[in-house]
């Protein structure tokens, strides 16, 4: 009788942080990742291997929607200079300045504008403890952005051409499906 109680308590303690986790997914360069539900929170992982990659997340909303977005990098010495940038771009968004256009990894399609450009140059670089993975990350700091109604994209690239993992965080509340992280724990957690 006592052992099942203790075991149940232990399992519940382990699961508690999961209630606040983002749903994980893997991004691949050259493949547009359609965000299944932009209104829940996501942790989108990717890996720069050449430093030249462009990762693209496609968002499709039925209304204008405000959400926090940030990019994070595992807190490891070899990634100290690894600062992926990201931008929210799409049709009908505000026209970027010349300087902003020059900082983007490629030219915007005709009629596209920019809702947010984060070059991840913040100093000092904040450190965040991700409570589900139990790992420290450097973060660009979250920024609240209004995602437009209809289609838009989040572009992630490495301005310094550095290699290494990154995590794009979208949202704040739990999104469910976080146990998928166990499908590829060695990638997500290390």
């Amino acid at each position: 009788m006592r052992r099942p109680l203790v075991l149940t308590a232990f399992v519940l303690l382990l699961l508690a942080p999961a209630a606040l986790a983002h749903a994980p997914a893997r991004l691949w360069p050259g493949e547009v990742f359609p965000l299944p539900d932009p209104k829940v929170s996501w942790a989108l992982f990717g890996l720069f291997e050449s430093g030249e990659e462009l990762f693209v997340v496609a968002v499709d909303l039925d209304e204008r929607f405000a959400s926090p977005v940030e990019v994070m990098v595992p807190h490891r010495d070899e990634l100290r200079d690894h600062r992926p940038a990201f931008a929210v771009v799409g049709p009908g968004l505000p026209t970027p300045s010349l300087e902003q256009r020059q900082r983007l990894p490629e030219a915007l399609p005709a009629g596209w504008g920019l809702a947010l450009l984060d070059l991840n140059e913040i100093e000092p670089r904040p450190v965040y403890f991700e409570s589900f993975l139990r790992r420290f990350f450097w973060t660009s700091e979250p920024t609240a952005v209004v995602l437009p109604r209809g289609q838009s994209e989040v572009w992630i690239w490495s301005p310094r051409r550095t290699n290494g993992k990154f995590l794009l965080g979208v949202g704040v509340e739990e999104g469910g499906g976080y146990f998928e992280v166990f499908d590829d724990w060695s990638f997500y957690a290390y």
Binding site: R2, L5, V6, T8, A9, F10, L12, L13, A16, P17, A19, L20, K39, E63, R64, F65, A66, S67, P68, V69, E70, P94, T95, S97, A115, L116, S131, E141, P142, T143, A144, V145, V146, G171, V172, E173
Partner: protein
């Protein structure tokens, strides 16, 4: 001893998720962010879902989310009006 451990463990197992779900007040930065978005919506004839950031939104379900949203709103507010000649009063710092 085992029974006390079990009871203690069970209490923690109930308490930890409850504590994690304890609410936090809406950050001042998000009050300003929500007000600014509303003002811009009125100006532009648009409508924006800011539910996350509102007082009863998911931002405030716990300390971690509250900190994230507070920072997000502070950083996002200037971005809302970048390039505007006359931002609404609600959007001014």
């Amino acid at each position: 001893m085992d029974l006390r451990l079990a009871r203690g463990g069970l209490s923690l197992a109930v308490l930890v998720p409850l504590l994690a779900a304890c609410g936090a007040p809406q950050a001042n930065s998000c009050k300003r962010f929500v007000a600014c978005v509303a003002a811009l919506d009125q100006q532009d004839g648009t409508s924006t879902n800011v539910a996350r950031f509102e007082p009863d939104g998911d931002c405030w379900n716990g300390a971690e989310g509250a900190a994230l949203c507070g920072t997000a709103c502070e950083r996002g507010l200037p971005n809302l009006t970048a390039g505007l000649d006359s931002p609404p009063p609600e959007c001014r710092p």
